[in-house]
Amino acid sequence: MPAVKEIQEKMRARAGELLRDGGVSMALGWKRGEFCHDPEPAFFESEAELDNFVYDGFSSPLLSKYLIETIRKDKQKGEGKGSKFLVFLKPCDSYGLNLLLKEHRVERERVYAVGVGCPGMLDVDKIRAAGVKNMRSFDETETEVTIHASSGDKTLARRDILLEKCLVCKGPEFAVQDEVLAPGLPSFEGGDRFAGVTELESMSPEERFSFWRNELSRCIRCNACRNACPVCSCNKCVFDNPQSGVQAKSNADSFEENMFHIVRAFHVAGRCSDCGECSRVCPQKIPLHLLNRKFIKDINAFYGAFQAGADAEARAPLTNYEFGDVEPGAVVKRGGGA
């Protein structure tokens, strides 16, 4: 079982190979960010640039969405027509890419998808909560993470500091890939991803209302959730479009509580792969995934289990129907998908 550092080196080497003579004109990966715990998506156009390449427990950001703009710009330049772009995918990232392929946002033939095993992504907030201050660097294995910080060194069990999405991991399989590096890493699947939704459902309407009011009223409309989301990829968002009738660019009054997040969740209903990026990137720590998962839970309960992005063919639940579908009235009566 290769250590995470070894996987990083393998990826760097493979990206180099492909850039050199594999017909790939650019590689999409992660490079070191401002801190050791915030690697950022990056383009690598030459082998030399790959020195900055990073793959570790914080390589959470989804990369596939950047393909849309990359390919668009490439087309505009009119050069390198047909050239491919390498994108690295963790298993759960592959669902997002599949969605982009399915919705024709990205052309399959322009992508070279390299799947990489994932050791489980880390949650910096959980590390901080464990008493770590000013994290400078870290060493990781599949089971433990040792943090070097101004507050001293600290070794934590990996499971304890995983992102929420990794505790309910979809498993080590790739929904789409051209080749796989370092497969077969153990995943942390098995958690009940609907536990949070169920808990809310069991509350009284008043409790639910005040819960969401409290959460959503913190929204500052930074649009991080929208920007991170692999399916929120409209050329122009309805909230930015004066012609849509619902334009609202900044937070004022109660629009975020009443419209923005409901509409956004509805827009991605049936398309959300439950990647959890919206909640992870939210600077206000709003549990946005609880909105999306409510839809997922309902869809599974009403129309049969569905995993968006599992394949590039199946009809999404909202572009499909059956004669015997549940009536909206019955849904309300029985209290949603509970």
Binding site: Q76, H104, N235, Q243, L318
Partner: protein, 661 residues
């Protein structure tokens, strides 16, 4: 900014008694865009319309709101009024203050307030209206008829007689269909061939009709007025242009063991064959499955014998692409498989036959030259039992829930024909109900019973068993409350009919809907019985539901009339309230394409200008001739690129806002 005129109708006292019409007219005066408002006793009357026309001219109105009865009543009237005054007819909105206000509310104050709100909503919507023009598409003046039975032939003849080109595609080697197999026809007992074959000849000879026999429709694209169809012309292995129809090849063909489809398997035919003497075209076809040359490579007798050099073993299937304005489905029927009705012994005893087989036995050109005989020993039957409703009106799995409609009458016919040929025969008909609605039908059935002495027994046959070379028929006589046991020589089963199996695939190609029994669905069961819900697709004959010949011919004519009505137009004017794609906003995600019930949305690579940047993008494109304006796409579209003219997102939201103000 619009200049809107608001016209509040009293509808006599219908509105004015409950709604203060003057207050409504005054209240809307201050609404944005409103330049003029008035009220009048009857807006729909000539006087009312004159007020509207004058106001449009005098106040230079750009749109009008009529506060009156339901738009379902007079929207069209006021659109015409607007058009005569030079306004675009779609710059008209109706506030329904009668059905949805004055008629249901008693409190004058509440009703007036509601009428004002409804009028405001209409004004708010009109403020966002823009002139709409219906799209036009040209019509290809050629029709395709699928199926060459009496339904298809009649439809084709009627269309062709009106001067339009028609192609008939028939999957068997000849036209004629089931009617060609029949002996006599009810209720007149004239010979089926005598009335059908002239029509077949007419169809073949008609300068406007082209026949494609032994052919099938393989692909259909396009839409009303502009269908493109791929027809597979299967290889006959005989050159139709050279063949003289002499029949020498059939005579010399050494493979003579194939069951004749035309004779319901009651006789054999050669591998190279013409289905029947009057077949059109009178050109043989080689059944490659049965042909020794095709199976073993050793034979070639027919090619050697053919003086016209017409036999061509190398012939290939040919795909032809043709364009049509209208398509008529006339795929007909078949009888259901009776193998699973074990109680009737159909599969076990040769003397238990279907009515269609009986039809062939009766026919002078049939396998027995018209002699009705037991197939087990070729003797003339002394006692014949007819069983009605075999598989019809049945909820069991191998049956059909519907009434097959034709069996009562043809059974009476069979009983009569039998009695006519062999007066000594004892004939029983077991029925559940005798259904004879039709001109001269009941008289016909009564003749069978009264003049010919056919014994009609109310009750079903429960069991047929072979016993000592005869058939023991156990049945009930419900009127006498007796169980009858009849020693019969022949049992004739009136098998239920079902749509031809090819209809299912055709329905998919045409995107025409079917019911649970695979009959094509009509656009409206009473008012549009010969049209499919898919525009430009029409239905003729049994493919729409069980029918006898008179009904089929009437329906064939009706379908032809609809086709002629379509082909007579040079252009089709569509519904202007159709969906449209705002291309710079379109993501190309295909969601709208998936929910469109009409296949009106396709995706294409287009050059799109977005913020001054020109680029190639995959964008949705709406075919306005196909779009019916339901709006499913508009809600599915995540980016709001799809919008519906006449019911735009902004318009509906403006109405919401006006109501909730």
């Amino acid at each position: 900014m619009q200049r809107i005129g608001v016209f509040v109708c009293w509808c006599g006292s219908n509105i004015a008694a409950t709604v203060d019409v003057d207050a409504v007219a005054q209240a809307v005066k201050t609404e944005p865009g409103v330049a003029f408002s008035t009220n009048y006793q009857y807006m729909c009357s000539e006087g009312g319309q004159a007020i509207i026309r004058n106001a449009i001219a005098e106040h230079k109105l750009t749109g009008i709101v009529v506060c009156a009865c339901s738009p379902r009543m007079h929207e069209a009237t006021f659109r015409k009024t607007a058009a005569t005054a030079g306004l675009n007819p779609y710059m008209v909105e109706i506030a329904n203050i009668r059905e949805q206000c004055s008629w249901i509310h008693k409190d004058r104050e509440k009703a007036t307030v509601k009428a004002i709100i409804l009028s405001r909503a209409a004004v708010a919507k009109l403020n966002l209206d823009s002139p709409l023009t219906a799209g036009e598409t040209p019509v290809t003046k050629r029709a395709l008829v699928i199926g060459g039975g009496i339904a298809g032939i009649q439809t084709a003849l009627d269309i062709a007689d009106a001067g339009y080109e028609v192609d008939i595609v028939e999957k068997t080697p000849t036209i004629g269909g089931k009617m060609a197999m029949l002996d006599k026809t009810f209720p007149t007992l004239d010979c089926s061939a005598c009335i059908l074959t002239p029509k077949m000849v007419d169809a073949a000879a008609h300068e406007k009709i082209t026949l494609y026999t032994y052919s099938e429709v393989e692909k259909v694209s396009g839409f009303v007025g502009n269908f493109t169809v791929d027809i597979r012309k299967r290889a006959r292995s005989v050159d139709a242009d050279r063949c003289t129809g002499c029949g020498d090849c059939m005579e010399k063909c050494p493979s003579k063991k194939s069951k004749s489809e035309f004779n319901q398997g009651l006789s054999n035919r050669s591998a190279i064959y013409i289905p029947f003497a009057q077949a059109i075209p009178n050109v043989p076809v080689i059944d490659r499955e049965a042909c020794i040359k095709f199976q073993t490579g050793k034979c070639g007798v027919c090619q050697k014998i053919c003086s016209a050099k017409a036999v061509d073993y190398e012939q290939q299937d040919e795909i032809m692409t043709r364009r049509y304005g209208a398509i008529v489905a006339a795929t007909g029927f078949k009888t259901i498989n009776l193998g699973r009705f074990e109680e009737f012994q159909y599969a076990q005893s040769p003397d238990v036959i279907t009515s269609l087989e009986f039809e062939r036995l009766c026919n002078a050109a049939g396998p027995t030259k018209g002699k009705v005989m037991r197939l087990s020993n070729h003797e003339t039957p002394k006692t014949v039992v007819f069983v009605q409703c075999v598989g019809s009106r049945s909820t069991v799995e191998c049956g059909k829930t519907y009434c097959s409609k034709i069996c009562c009458m043809y059974t009476a016919k069979h009983a009569m024909l039998l009695k006519e040929k062999y007066p000594e025969t004892e004939v029983y008909v077991f029925y559940i109900d005798v259904r004879t609605p039709g001109k001269g039908f009941d008289e016909f059935y009564r003749r069978a019973a009264e003049e010919y002495g056919v014994r009609y027994v109310k009750g079903m046959v429960g069991k047929v068993a072979e016993e000592n070379g005869r058939l023991r028929v156990q049945a009930s006589d419900l009127i006498a409350d007796k169980q009858l046991v009849i020693e019969a020589d022949m049992v004739v089963l009136a098998a239920a009919i079902e749509p031809d199996p090819s209809a299912r695939n055709l329905a998919t190609l045409l995107t025409a809907s079917m019911d649970t029994n695979d009959f094509f669905t009509e656009a409206h069961p009473k008012l549009r019985p010969v049209e499919s819900p898919t525009a430009g697709v029409y239905l003729s004959g049994v493919c729409q539901g069980p029918k006898d010949i008179p009904d089929t011919v009437s329906q064939a004519g009706a379908a032809a009339a609809k086709v002629i009505g379509l082909l007579a137009k040079d252009k089709l004017v569509g519904n202007p309230c159709v969906a449209g794609c705002n291309e710079p906003l379109c993501n190309g995600c295909s969601a709208c394409e998936l929910v469109c019930p009409y296949g009106a949305i396709t995706y294409e690579e287009k050059t799109v200008m977005d913020h001054g940047v020109r680029e190639q993008r995959r964008v949705a494109s709406v075919n306005e001739a196909l779009c019916q304006g339901c709006g499913a796409c508009t809600v599915t579209c995540p980016s709001g690129a799809m919008d519906l003219k006449g019911f735009t997102n902004l318009q509906i939201m403006a109405e919401v806002d006006a109501i909730c103000r």
